[in-house]
């Protein structure tokens, strides 16, 4: 419909808010309470404008005309209107620049500043503050408020990660609304009323995995990221727009660095992927990169000790020791969050050495690539029938948030020239959620289950049966057939519930099934899941264990044969080993085996149990310092860009290959990011150097996925310890002081009754060998864990799945009571 904003005529779609129309017309109004992706509430009153519209005569249905001009007469609203909460109307006229409007806007700035301290020089938001900008643009520049400002608590720790300055709060309610509308964890609220209102919580910290986003959306310096407080001023930061390598969601990040150190991470904007949200693991998990014990120079073992040397020297050492070795007995393993470029480099190295023993770890038994096109995150957000197997909150937090978007049932709005809609009028505070569209199965109670219509917690050992039974039932009813009922006992739900799920998925055109390593680690379960999805016509989203597991599989960074996989690298067949960012020596048995190797080359950013055994240690960069490309869960290629972090001579794996190539006297493909991209262009038909920050979807692979291992004889997974995904990377926890203070030690979760049976209490710290790896964990009671099962967070070396816990060998390091005393 046609409207006019300050003499600019434009055509907008009905339902648009006036504020978006104003911005679309190239004009500006100030606003604080509106936030893209959240409901408009009209609380800050900053975006006031004079609005008028023509009216129709009730009787004739014609426009009432102005007697003088003959044009439709504009009836102005008596008061200035908040443009964020007003919808456009045909023929509407908006005035944002007249004297009256300016006076109103000026008055609102003045009111907003009444209780806002003028401490911009010490405020961490200074220089990037919406209020500062708006006060400058729309304020009168002088204060008429001569009284004492409101005094409230300053630097109040809402949690270990978030600091609240209540004096600076301007009550825009973005944070409070955020918790209700986005993650659905209502852990923050206004307390008191009127001029005494402040935000606060009664919970212990902020129990939500998505708390950090409130520091991004706070328009003033009231909510601050504790990890970055006072570390630098906004204009001093170097901003790097990149992609998260913490999980497979591919969330956009902005890394702020200063003098070679990462000071903070903020969410980037990618409308299709993470909108402007990231999870706390991604946001606060960066401190490890600046830890003191970074390996910054190559090291070579001389007379039993590692001594620092040059890259050329280290490469020469490797080349000499590898010369004449049977190439098939050399193994190369990358961690699953390596970039595609690193994958290309590793492949080139393996080819040069003549080794098929190339793998990424952790890699599930089944392929993480879907049959055909994957569901996109937008598909998830617009789905009306969701079936989730696993715990996406911990595996890829953004998927959790996009599932919650789907529950609101509002299709994402198209982008305006000025970006996402500032005020999407379809979003409301406290929208009813369509819980019934979401079904979740997981072997323990997950966080997301409280939002689900149906939640099932089958025993961890029978996940495969459940999927098999569902697949069987779904296949049998494809053409209206009757299921045999043979598998009904394994359903873990009633047959009626299963049928309801099948019917709901099948009758929907936008059904999405999401699963992760709980399924992928068992080829039978994977097969059943794929069958189920196919027979109900659902798109699939498979969450890989690591950020780029799918991408590395896609470009075939894979063993040439199943028997050359990662596990084979720790058999006597292997003589030399290149390990990139992996630490298999946490398993004492593997450590013994590594000692027997002729050559162990470790590419690592920090000293590890494995680097202690290495013959050559090469300094590696972290995921924040890489240039490269990653493929996220929905099959979108995303650019990874290097933040300028001080890490000595550390490089990514392409750098390793470059140095080795020089020592070998050859130029290997993938010896630089640029060289690797030439290969990628051939493989994927995409120029990775040209990728926009928001990425580019990759066409699906044709045919059968390549990464699945052959289904050997069927062995039911057993064990009493379930390794579960973890948003917070436990291997980094020790080097992330703030995150550790908030989350504590890595948790060993069990049902209170289970703990009681073993004489443990919440808070005890124990070392428990799980699957051969001694894990030091803090005991935590959790009603959501089935009795008799122990949950521990995953490590790159210990993928998600069932293991045997050696309870007899459990050692209590510290007891909870001793700690209190």
């Amino acid at each position: 419909m046609k409207i006019k904003v300050n003499e600019v005529e434009l055509d907008v779609t009905p339902g648009t808010s006036v504020i978006d129309a104003v911005f679309a017309a190239g004009h500006d109004v100030p606003y604080f309470c509106s936030q893209e992706y959240m409901s408009p509430i009209g609380a800050c009153r900053m975006c006031l404008a004079k609005i008028g519209a023509p009216r129709k005569d009730r009787a004739t249905n014609d426009w009432i005309l102005d007697e003088e001009t003959g044009e439709p007469k504009i009836f102005w609203f008596p008061n200035p209107m908040a443009t964020c909460t007003t919808q456009v109307m045909e023929g509407m006229v908006v005035d944002t620049i007249s004297k009256d409007v300016k006076k109103a806007q000026n008055a609102m700035v003045e009111f907003t500043l009444v209780n806002h301290p003028l401490d911009c020089p010490t405020c961490d938001k200074g220089g990037a503050c919406e209020l500062q900008d708006r006060a400058y643009e729309y304020g009168s520049g002088e204060s008429r408020f001569v009284f004492d400002k409101r005094h409230q608590e300053k630097h109040h720790a809402l949690s270990e990660l978030i600091t609240l300055d209540r004096e600076r709060c301007i009550h825009c309610k973005r944070c409070v609304r955020y918790f209700e509308e986005v993650p659905g964890d209502e852990v923050l609220d206004f307390i008191e009323r009127g001029g005494h209102t402040y935000i606060g919580t009664l919970e212990d910290g902020l129990p939500s995995p998505f708390t950090g986003n409130i520091t991004d959306i706070c328009p003033v310096g009231a909510l601050l990221d504790t990890t970055s407080r006072f570390r630098g001023r906004n204009w001093e930061y170097h901003h790097t727009d990149t992609t998260s390598l913490d999980d497979p969601s591919g969330a956009a990040l902005r890394i702020d660095t200063r003098t070679g150190r990462i000071e903070r991470i903020k969410a980037g904007l990618n409308d299709d992927v993470n909108k402007t949200w990231i999870d706390d693991g991604t946001r606060f998990g960066h401190e490890y990169a600046d830890a003191e014990d970074r390996i910054t120079r190559p090291m070579v073992r001389r007379d039993g000790t590692l001594v620092e040397t040059t890259w050329a020297d280290a490469a020469r050492e490797i080349a000499e020791r590898i010369a004449g070795m049977d190439g098939t007995r050399i193994g190369i393993a990358l961690r699953g969050d390596a970039t595609l470029e690193e994958g290309v480099a590793a492949k080139a190295l393996a080819d040069h050495l003549g080794s098929g023993r190339l793998d990424t770890a952790p890699r599930p038994a089944a392929s993480v690539l879907p049959d055909g096109a994957a569901a996109t995150l937008r598909d998830v957000a617009t789905s009306d029938a969701l079936f989730v197997v696993g715990d996406p909150t911990e595996e890829a937090g953004i998927v959790d948030l996009r599932i919650k978007d789907a529950l609101k049932g509002v299709e994402p709005a198209p982008l305006f020239p000025h970006g996402p809609a500032i005020a999407d009028l379809r979003l409301k505070e406290r929208m009813p959620r369509k819980r019934e569209i979401l079904t979740i199965c997981a072997p323990y109670r997950t966080d997301l289950m409280k939002h689900a219509g149906q939640a099932h917690v089958p025993p961890a050992t029978s996940m495969v049966d459940l999927l098999h039974a569902l697949a069987e039932r779904a296949s049998a009813t494809v053409d209206g057939g009757t299921p045999s009922g043979a598998w009904d006992d394994a359903l873990g739900m009633t047959a009626a519930e299963a049928d309801a799920l099948i019917t709901r998925m099948r009758s929907s055109t936008r059904g999405v099934m999401i699963w992760s390593a709980f399924v992928s680690n068992d080829p039978r379960a994977d097969e059943a899941a794929r069958t189920f999805a196919k027979s109900v016509g659902a798109k699939t989203l498979i969450l890989g264990p690591m950020a780029n597991t799918a991408g590395l599989e896609r470009i075939s960074v894979l063993p040439s044969h199943d028997r050359y996989d990662y596990a084979s690298m720790f058999t006597p067949e292997t003589k030399a080993l290149f390990l990139a960012s992996l630490d298999p020596a946490v398993d004492p048995k593997v450590a013994d085996r590594l000692r027997e190797l002729d050559l162990l080359v470790v590419h690592a950013a920090f000293p590890t149990a494995t680097s202690a055994l290495a013959d050559v240690v090469l300094p590696a960069v972290t995921g924040y310092e890489k240039d490269g490309t990653t493929l996220n869960v929905e099959g979108r290629l995303l650019p990874v860009r290097a933040a300028p972090v001080e890490a000595g001579t550390a490089t990514d794996f392409t750098g390793v290959v470059k140095q080795l190539g020089e020592a070998f006297g050859t130029r290997l493909e993938g010896r630089s990011v640029k060289s690797a991209r030439r290969v990628l262009r051939k493989l994927l038909d995409v120029d990775a150097a040209e990728l926009p920050t928001t990425g580019q979807p990759l066409p699906p692979v044709r045919g059968k996925a390549s990464g699945a291992r052959a289904v050997r004889e069927y062995a039911r997974a057993t064990g009493d310890a379930l390794i579960v995904p973890s948003m917070v990377r436990v291997e980094h926890l020790d080097r992330n002081p703030h995150l550790r203070a908030e989350r504590g030690d890595a948790a060993l979760r069990a049902h209170p009754a289970t703990l009681h049976a073993h004489g443990l209490t919440s808070g005890d710290v124990v070392t428990l060998p799980i699957g051969g790896i001694p894990r030091q964990l803090r005991v935590t009671a959790s009603e959501g864990v089935p009795e008799g099962l122990w949950l521990a967070p995953t490590l790159p070396e210990q993928p998600v799945g069932l293991y045997d816990a050696n309870l007899a060998a459990m050692v209590r390091e510290r007891s909870a009571t001793a700690e209190v005393a």
Partner: protein, 218 residues
């Protein structure tokens, strides 16, 4: 939250009360029960402690933060215990014009309290409150839930004495106009002449307080 482990939940032995309150609202409106549950606790404990907030949050399926947010919005829920007699002086315009400021001063002097305080014995709490909806019978003093209307100095002193003795006197209803006391309700079938009763009441009032001869427009 530590309190919760040591204090017995309030509703533990009152399933009937809990059921009655929750039963007032439809299942989808369970959250509505927050306010009555807070009232229930406050009526018996004279305030709502943090432990009770956590308990109520669990009952209605909210976070404790939300319950706290709701509770703190309203001025008549107390986070701290108030005295046995919570004296609330309406101080808004109509009552002010009838002398509520002076009444409050008098109470402050007699009790040795300033508004917002509770005495050391926990007998009296004094509070200035906003409009109590007794404007035509101002000034009004609310003792706990009971209104004492058109309170005079002597009546207030008598009231305080009675309260100190532990008695709650019957509230005085001093009303004129169409809300005046008119007498007993008629029994079934009896005709009730409201007009005559009202006239009688008016006549009484006029006799007692002759119209101010100086009263008039400026």
């Amino acid at each position: 939250m530590i309190e919760l482990n040591t204090i017995r939940p309030y509703f533990e032995d009152k399933p009937d009360v809990l059921d009655e309150i929750l039963g007032r609202y439809p299942e989808y409106g369970r959250r509505s029960a927050v306010m009555p549950l807070l009232w229930e606790v406050q009526r018996h404990e004279r305030y709502v402690s943090e432990a009770r907030i956590v308990e109520i949050a669990e009952i209605v399926g909210l976070t404790a933060t939300e319950v706290r947010g709701v509770m703190s919005f309203y001025s008549t829920y107390h986070g701290e215990p108030v005295g046995k007699y919570h004296l609330q002086v309406c101080s808004t315009l109509s009552c002010k014009l009838a002398g509520s400021d002076e009444m409050c001063d008098h109470l402050e002097d007699s009790l040795g309290l300033v508004p917002g305080e509770t005495d050391t014995e926990g007998l009296f709490s004094l509070q200035k409150v906003e409009c109590l909806g007794s404007c035509t019978t101002a000034p009004v003093l609310q003792v706990n839930d009971t209104y004492y209307e058109r309170v005079t100095r002597d009546e207030l002193d008598a009231l305080l004495d009675a309260l100190r003795r532990g008695e709650m006197p019957t509230p005085k209803r001093a009303r004129e106009g169409d809300n005046a006391q008119l007498g007993a309700a008629p029994l079934a079938g009896e005709a009730f002449e409201a007009g005559t009763a009202a006239d009688a009441a008016l006549a009484d009032a006029e006799a007692a307080e002759p119209e101010n001869p100086e009263g008039g427009a400026a």
